[in-house]
C-alpha cells in the first residue's frame, strides 16, 4: 500500500484514503461547441500513457476531499512530488535530474 502526501493536509496518508482521477493538466475547453469533432475526441479520449514520470490527478477522498496533482513514476509507482490544483506542472526533465542525484 502506497503512502501519499496530500498537499492541502500536509500529511502522508495511506493509499486507501485517496482516489486516482486520471491524467492532470487536461483543461476542459472554454467553449466546447467551437471544437471540431477531432479536437473534441482529442480532449475526451487521448492520453499520454507514459512509461516513467506522469502528471496525474488524485483526490484525498476520505480526508479533506480536495483534488490535487501528483507526479508519479508509472514504472516504480513512486510519487515524486505533489502540488495543489492551479499550480504549474513541474519540469519533468528537471525532476528526473534531481531524482538521479
Amino acid at each position: 500500500m502506497l503512502l501519499i502526501s496530500c498537499p492541502y493536509c500536509g500529511v502522508e496518508r495511506p493509499e486507501i484514503e485517496f482516489r486516482h482521477a486520471g491524467e492532470a493538466h487536461i483543461a476542459r475547453p472554454a467553449e466546447p461547441s467551437k471544437l471540431t469533432d477531432e479536437e473534441w475526441a482529442e480532449y475526451l479520449y487521448m492520453r499520454t500513457n507514459p512509461k516513467g514520470l506522469m502528471a496525474e490527478r488524485w483526490r484525498h477522498t476520505h480526508g479533506c476531499g480536495r483534488f490535487f496533482n501528483a507526479i508519479r513514476d508509472t514504472v516504480s509507482d513512486k510519487f515524486v512530488t505533489v502540488y495543489k490544483m492551479g499550480e504549474a506542472k513541474p519540469d519533468l526533465d528537471q525532476l528526473l535530474v534531481e531524482a538521479a542525484q
Binding site: 500500500m1 466546447p32 469533432d37 480536495r66 483534488f67 513512486k78
Partner: protein, 1001 residues
C-alpha cells in the same frame, strides 16, 4: 519401534514430554519441540507423499518452508482442515492428526503410480499437448481428470470457524530472519535505540545457530549465544520478537506484510486468541536476513525417499535428535556437507562415504571428516539409487578427466544426503523490486542496488562463514539504525571459533553412465519436472526462462523454485549454449510461502464483509413482513406480502392500491446533495442538461446529468429552496459518484464559482405518499403549507412542518399519480412515518416496495438510469430531448451530443413492447430480432430493458431499446427464447395516463 532413529541425547526437544500424534491414521510418538517431519524421521518414516504428476513415492527433503514433498493436511474440528502444510513447519502437539496427500488409496500402494509407467506421455508441456482438443472435453473430461489425479491438498468445504486478526505496525527497523545475521542486525539496531521488529518463520528464533553443534561464539555454544542475545532483545521494550511469523510480502514504500501463526502449534488454544494475525508493517528501514538455500543434486532417481539435503540431515540431527538413517551416503560438490558427515559420525551414524564431485577436495571441513575416519572419494558422482519406498543403495561412478563416468559400484545405505552448494535466498529483495545481479565468482544471483530502504545481511547476499555473517549482520543493523537516527552504534563482533565458510558447489544435471532415455533426474520435485523436460522445452523452441518455466511448470511450486530454479536455469543455459545471465531469472512474487485466505480476509467476512445501510424506517418494514432487496449497500423493502400472497399477487395489489387510493413508500435511500452559494444556480446549469437559472424558488425540476462523452450518468429531481440553495436528489446508488463528479468540476474546472456541496443522503428520511388520496392523507398532519393545487402545484417544494417536524415537502411523482415526497430529518423519520401510515391505513392504503415502484414508473415510461441506460445512452435515445436546454451555450457533455455517431440514424431508442399473448412476460435482457428465426450471426435490433405484469393494463408490458425504435412503432418483431419465439408489437413507451392529467389533479 518408536524413536528408532532418535539419538540418545541432545537437541532442542523435551525428551521428558512425549507427544502422541497420528499420520495417515497410524499412531506415533514424538517429543515436545519436534516438527512433524522430525518426529516422523525419528520413527524411521521417510515416505510422506506421492508426487504430483507421476505419483512417485516421495520423502522429506528439507527442514524448512522450501519443502517440496512433505505436504500434509492437518485436521482439527469441522471447519478446521488445512491442506498443503509443509511437514518441517508443522509443530506436533498432543493428538495432532496429519494426512498425506495425493495418493489413493494409500501411500505405499497408490493407483496413480501407473502414471509413472506412462511417463513418456507426461513430458514437458503435457497439459498443453494432451488437453488441447476437442474444446468440449475440457469441462466434462479433462478438468475433472486433472482435478482428481493431480491433487495437491483438498480445499476445505466447511466454513472456517477460526478467527483472524489484523495488526498495523510501524517500526524503525524490521529484520526478517533471525539466524546469526538477523540476530546481529536486530541487536545492533536495538542497541542504537531503534524500534525493532524481528520476525522469523520458524517456531524458535536463532536460525542456523540452533543446529550448529561445533562453533563457539564468545566462548559459548552457538545456541547458547543465540539464547542470550534473544533474551536481551526480549527485555528491550522497543523490540518486538515474532517467531512463527513469515515476512511474505514486500511492497512499495517499505510496506511489509507478515503472517503470524498464533495457535496452530497448540493442542488446546485459548479461545480468545486468533488463529493467525496479519501484520501490516511500515518500516523505515528493512534488514533482509533470510539466509541461503541448499541446492539438490540432479542425478538419476534423486527423488527416492531417504534422499535428503545434507544440511537438513544436520538440522534434524542436532536440533531434533533425529537421524536421517543409520548408514548414510553423502553426495556433494560443496564443503558444508562435510559438517553433516562429521556430526552424524559423532552421533554414531555409519557414514559410508562422502562422494565429492570435485577431483581433490581440500580444506578444513574435508580435513575434519578425514580425521574423523570418514571415507572421502573425489571425482565421485551418484549415478542412481535403488529401493522401492526408501533408498537401499546408491550407485557410484568415477568422473574421468574427459568428463565421462565409469562404474564404481554400489554402496548400501538407508539415507542419501546431498549438497549442490548454496543459493542465496533473494526472494524478498526481488519482491522489493530490486534487480538481482549474476555473480560469476559466487555462481549465484545476488541482490543488486537497493530500490527501497533495505539491505541484505548474511548468506542471502552471498556472505558465508559464521564470523563474516555476524559481522555483516552488525553492519546491516547499524546502517539501518543510522538511517533513522544519528545515535547508531555498532556492537563489537564477538570472537568466533569454527563455522568456517565452505567452498564449492555445482549447477545443473550431473554426468552419469546410464541410458539417458531410461532414467529421470528431477529438478523440481513438487511439480515432477526433470532435466529432460527442460531440455525438451528448449528443443521445442522455448528460449526465455519465463516461457520454459510456464511450459514445464518448473519453479512454480509452493517454494517458487527456491530449490529448483538454479538447476533448471543451468540446464536451460547449457541447452541454449548461452551463459546463465543471458537466460535470466524468473521474478519472485508475493507471497513468499502460501498464506491462508483467512489471514488476508482477517475480520472482513460474514456480516463484517461490507457495511449494510438501513433507513430509519427499516424496522417498520421488517415488522410488516417485507421482503428486502439489496440496492448498492442499502436494504430496501421489495414488496410487502400479506399472508398467503405470492410476490406477483402482492405487487399487483400494491400497484392497484396506489392507482386507486394511496400508497406509502420509503424513498430515504435516494442520494441527496445540498448545493449552496451565490453561484449555485449557475453551477447546476452547467452540470445538468436542463436550464436551471430561471427555476423559481419553491419549484422542482427533473434533471439529467451527462458525462462529458454525452452519456446519461444520473438523473433526479432538484428543488430550489432559496435563491442560493438547492436540494439535489440522485439515484440510490449514484450519490457518491455524482458528488465526486460535481466536486471534480467545482474544484478543478470552475474554482471561480462560489458554491458548496454537502452530502445529505443520511440527513433526510424520505416518505413518498402517492395516489389519488395522497393529499387527504397528509393534509391533517401538515402545518404552514397550503396544499391546494393552485398554491402548491405538481413539481413544487414548500417548507413547513409535518407532525410538528420541520419538512421540505416535495409535490412530485414517480408513479404517475399525484403525490408527495416528505423530507424530514432522519432522526424524526420513523415518528412521521408512523403518523402518516396511520392515515394511509385508515384511507385503505398500503405500503409498497421497490418492485411496485418499478412497475408503476414503467407504466409511465419513466426510465431508471442503469436499467434503460447502460452508459452508452444519450437523452434523445430515451426520448428525453425535451430535458436538454436548447438555448444553453454549455453544459457537461453538450459537445458530444453533436458527435457524428450520436446524430446518425440507427441508434437504439426507448419504446414499449407488448407481447401478442398478454400473459407472456418477457425476460429482461432478452434480444429482439426483425425475423422470427433469424440466420446465425444476424445482429439483434435491440433488447428488453424492463418487463412486468401491469395490473393497470391487465396484461404484461415491457420497455425496450430498439434500433430506430420510434420509427418502428406499430411494427411486429420477435423475441427468440429458449421456449420458442415470442411475437411482440412495438408501441409508445407510455402505457398509462399519456396526457398526465392525474399528476396535476
Amino acid at each position: 519401534m518408536t524413536h528408532e532413529f532418535r539419538t540418545s541425547a541432545g537437541g532442542r526437544i523435551d525428551r521428558s514430554s512425549p507427544v502422541e500424534f497420528t499420520f495417515d491414521g497410524k499412531s506415533y510418538q514424538g517429543f515436545a519441540g519436534d516438527t512433524l517431519a522430525s518426529a516422523l524421521l525419528a520413527n524411521g518414516v521417510h515416505l510422506v507423499g506421492r508426487s504430483y504428476k507421476y505419483h512417485r513415492p516421495r520423502g522429506i527433503v528439507t527442514a524448512g518452508s522450501e519443502e517440496p514433498n512433505a505436504l500434509v493436511g492437518i485436521a482439527r474440528e469441522k471447519g478446521q482442515n488445512t491442506p498443503n502444510l509443509r511437514a518441517p513447519q508443522v509443530e506436533i502437539y498432543q493428538g495432532l492428526n496429519a494426512e498425506s496427500q495425493n495418493r489413493f488409496p494409500s501411500l505405499s500402494f497408490d493407483i496413480g503410480a501407473v502414471n509413472d509407467l506412462l511417463s513418456p506421455l507426461f513430458v514437458a508441456g503435457f497439459y498443453y499437448k494432451t488437453f488441447m482438443w476437442p474444446r468440449s472435453f475440457w469441462q466434462r473430461v479433462y478438468e475433472p481428470f486433472i482435478r482428481s489425479a493431480a491433487g495437491l491438498g483438498k480445499a476445505p468445504t466447511d466454513p472456517d470457524k477460526d478467527r483472524y486478526a489484523n495488526y498495523y505496525a510501524h517500526c524503525d527497523v524490521l529484520v526478517i530472519g533471525s539466524g546469526p545475521a538477523g540476530l546481529a542486525a536486530a541487536n545492533a539496531a536495538a542497541q542504537s535505540g531503534a524500534r525493532v521488529i524481528l520476525c522469523d518463520e520458524q517456531a524458535e528464533l536463532g536460525g542456523s545457530l540452533l543446529h550448529d553443534a561445533t562453533s563457539m561464539i564468545d566462548g559459548k555454544s552457538a545456541a547458547d549465544w543465540a539464547s542470550e542475545t534473544i533474551k536481551a532483545l526480549s527485555e528491550n521494550d522497543r523490540v518486538t520478537l515474532l517467531p512463527r511469523t513469515t515476512g511474505f510480502g514486500y511492497y512499495a514504500q517499505n510496506f511489509v506484510a507478515l503472517a503470524e501463526r498464533v495457535t496452530d502449534h497448540l493442542a488446546n488454544p485459548d479461545q480468545s486468541l486468533p488463529r493467525e494475525r496479519l501484520w501490516q508493517v511500515r518500516a523505515k528501514e528493512v534488514v533482509i536476513a533470510t539466509g541461503a538455500i541448499e541446492r539438490p543434486l540432479v542425478f538419476p532417481e534423486n527423488d527416492r525417499p531417504g534422499v535428503m539435503m545434507a544440511e537438513a540431515g544436520r538440522i534434524y540431527l542436532n536440533r531434533y535428535g533425529a537421524m536421517a538413517g543409520k548408514r548414510v551416503v553423502i553426495a556433494t560438490a560443496c564443503d558444508t556437507a562435510y559438517r553433516t558427515a562429521v556430526d552424524l559420525k559423532a552421533a554414531g551414524v555409519d557414514v559410508a562415504v562422502i562422494a565429492d564431485l570435485r577431483p581433490e577436495p581440500v580444506g578444513v571441513h574435508v580435513d575434519a571428516a578425514r580425521s574423523a575416519g570418514i571415507r572421502v572419494e573425489g571425482a565421485c558422482v551418484v549415478t542412481g539409487t535403488k529401493g522401492r519406498l526408501r533408498v537401499k543403495s546408491a550407485r557410484l561412478g568415477r568422473i574421468r578427466p574427459d568428463g565421462s563416468v565409469t562404474v564404481m559400484g554400489e554402496e548400501a545405505c538407508d539415507s542419501l544426503l546431498m549438497s549442490g552448494g548454496w543459493t542465496p535466498n533473494v526472494s524478498l529483495y526481488s519482491q522489493s523490486r530490486g534487480k538481482v545481479v549474476w555473480d560469476e565468482e559466487a555462481g549465484a544471483y545476488l541482490p543488486g542496488p537497493s530500490v527501497q530502504h533495505e539491505r541484505s545481511a548474511g548468506s542471502c547476499h552471498g556472505v558465508y562463514g559464521l564470523h563474516a555473517v555476524l559481522e555483516d549482520g552488525y553492519r546491516a543493523g547499524e546502517s539501518a539504525a543510522r538511517a533513522v537516527s544519528s545515535a547508531a552504534k555498532r556492537p563489537e563482533t564477538p570472537s568466533v571459533s569454527g563455522g568456517e565458510a565452505g567452498a564449492g558447489g555445482t549447477l545443473g544435471a550431473l554426468p552419469h553412465d546410464r541410458d539417458p532415455s531410461r532414467v529421470r533426474a528431477f529438478i523440481d520435485f513438487q511439480n515432477d519436472v526433470t532435466a529432460k523436460d527442460v531440455k525438451l522445452a528448449v528443443r521445442e523452441g522455448f528460449h526465455s526462462i519465463e516461457h520454459i518455466k510456464r511450459y514445464t511448470t518448473t519453479g512454480m511450486a509452493t517454494d517458487q523454485g527456491r530449490l529448483s530454479n538454479m538447476n533448471a536455469l543451468s540446464v536451460a543455459s547449457k541447452s541454449l549454449e548461452k551463459p546463465i545471465p543471458q537466460v535470466g531469472l524468473t521474478t519472485f512474487r508475493q507471497p513468499y510461502t502460501p498464506v491462508t485466505f483467512g489471514t488476508f480476509a482477517t475480520t472482513a467476512r460474514g456480516e463484517a464483509f461490507d457495511p449494510v445501510r438501513r433507513t430509519p424506517m427499516h424496522d417498520w418494514a421488517v415488522e410488516k413482513g417485507a421482503e428486502f432487496e439489496d440496492v448498492s449497500l442499502w436494504k430496501r423493502a421489495w414488496y410487502f406480502p400479506r399472508p398467503g400472497e405470492s410476490m406477483h399477487e402482492a405487487v399487483a395489489r400494491e400497484c392497484a392500491t396506489v392507482r386507486e387510493s394511496v400508497g406509502i413508500f420509503d424513498a430515504s435511500t435516494l442520494g441527496k446533495i445540498e448545493v449552496v452559494g451565490p453561484d449555485a444556480a449557475e453551477f447546476l446549469n452547467r452540470v445538468y442538461t436542463n436550464p436551471f437559472l430561471k427555476l423559481g424558488v419553491g419549484r422542482l425540476r427533473y434533471g439529467i446529468m451527462l458525462s462529458e462523452a454525452g452519456f446519461i450518468m444520473d438523473d433526479g429531481v432538484v428543488g430550489r429552496i432559496a435563491e442560493d440553495r438547492f436540494h439535489v436528489t440522485t439515484t440510490t446508488g449514484g450519490a457518491p459518484r455524482v458528488l465526486a463528479h460535481l466536486e471534480d468540476y467545482l474544484q478543478t474546472e470552475w474554482p471561480d464559482l462560489n458554491v458548496w456541496l454537502t452530502s445529505t443522503t443520511e440527513q433526510w428520511a424520505v416518505i413518498a405518499v402517492q395516489g389519488p388520496r395522497a393529499r387527504d392523507v397528509i393534509a391533517p398532519l401538515v402545518e404552514g403549507i397550503d396544499l391546494s393545487t393552485e398554491s402548491m402545484p405538481h413539481m413544487s417544494v414548500r417548507e413547513g412542518r409535518i407532525c410538528g417536524v420541520p419538512t421540505r415537502l416535495f409535490r412530485m411523482s414517480f408513479t404517475g399519480e399525484a403525490g408527495y415526497e416528505i423530507n424530514v430529518p432522519a432522526s424524526r423519520g420513523r415518528e412521521v412515518w408512523d403518523a402518516v401510515w396511520k392515515n394511509v391505513e385508515a384511507a385503505g392504503g398500503a405500503p409498497y416496495g421497490t418492485e411496485t415502484m418499478h412497475v408503476l414508473r414503467a407504466e409511465k415510461g419513466y426510465i431508471i438510469v442503469g436499467q434503460e441506460t447502460d452508459g452508452t445512452v444519450v437523452p434523445n435515445d430515451v426520448g428525453m430531448d425535451w430535458a436538454v436546454g436548447k438555448k444553453k451555450a454549455d453544459f457537461i457533455g453538450i459537445r458530444s451530443l453533436t458527435r457524428p455517431d450520436i446524430v446518425a440514424a440507427g441508434r437504439k431508442q426507448l419504446v414499449g413492447v407488448l407481447t401478442k399473448d398478454p400473459k407472456v412476460i418477457l425476460e429482461e435482457g432478452a434480444q429482439i430480432t426483425a425475423e422470427a428465426s433469424p440466420a446465425l450471426k444476424t445482429p439483434a435490433l435491440g433488447h428488453v430493458t424492463s418487463s412486468y405484469y401491469s395490473s393497470a393494463l391487465g396484461r404484461s408490458m415491457a420497455l425496450a431499446m430498439i434500433a430506430d425504435g420510434r420509427d418502428r412503432i406499430g411494427d411486429t418483431i420477435y423475441v427468440p427464447t429458449a421456449e420458442g419465439v415470442v411475437v411482440v408489437e412495438i408501441v409508445s413507451p407510455v402505457f398509462y395516463d399519456a396526457e398526465g392529467g392525474k399528476l396535476v389533479a
